[in-house]
């Protein structure tokens, strides 16, 4: 598995955990701004830590710039992520319209951003597995 595929896996798994934490906020007693901030900080710290570990395992791969196939995979995955984000934002707007609560809309929009991001990394993994 290449260095960049490992990075995609790390981001994907951590994003799934972040999404679960974010979606579960409604069931956590007193989950407010600090809860989200803690989640985001833990996400960022784990990303940095795990990427440092795999960089340490394969320093040569980590230093090599993305080649044309990896750039293409990145672009194709970003396109899928973009359309997922658009769909999510439209759903969030619909949620505001139906519930009449802007906070639920904001919550859905944040969730849409995270899900779109996860879909982008999932697409990257699929493309790396397929070879293109």
């Amino acid at each position: 598995m290449s260095f960049r595929e490992k990075c995609a896996w790390i981001s994907f798994v951590l994003l799934l955990l972040l999404i679960v934490g974010f979606a579960a906020a409604g069931h956590v007693e007193g989950a407010g701004f600090h809860y989200f901030l803690t989640l985001l900080l833990a996400f960022a710290l784990l990303q940095v830590l795990l990427r440092l570990i795999i960089r340490w395992q394969a320093p040569k791969d980590a230093r090599t710039p993305k080649d044309e196939r990896e750039q293409l995979i990145d672009l194709k995955a970003a396109r899928i992520g973009f359309y997922s984000l658009v769909a999510g934002v439209l759903l969030a707007m619909l949620a505001v319209h139906v519930h009449g609560n802007p906070w639920s809309g904001l919550h859905t929009m944040m969730l849409a951003v995270l899900v779109a991001w996860a879909i982008k990394f999932a697409s990257e993994i699929v493309y790396y597995r397929r070879g293109r």
Binding site: S2, T64, D67, E68, R69, Y128, G131, R132
Partner: protein
């Protein structure tokens, strides 16, 4: 009209064998791509750009048509 399906084949595995069992990593370093990309090209999963195709041919010291060939589609001229 749907364009005819073109299958691009390559002789990279054979050329690597003929060049002292050159590893995919060695070839990747000479070409300036990752080992995974060389593997994808070799297996026919990914068609490289002309630039990379020429660099692969140059790494073996052969002409482009000795590395890549295509089957199907019209070969006009």
């Amino acid at each position: 009209m749907v364009p005819p399906q073109i299958t691009i084949t390559n002789t990279i595995r054979k050329l690597r064998f003929e060049h002292g069992e050159m590893t995919q990593q060695d070839l990747a370093e000479r070409v300036g791509v990752t080992r995974q990309t060389i593997n994808a090209i070799e297996l026919g999963k990914y068609s490289p750009s002309l630039e990379v195709a020429f660099r692969i041919a140059a790494a073996f010291g052969v002409r482009l048509e000795n590395v890549f060939s295509y089957e199907g589609g019209s070969q006009s001229q």
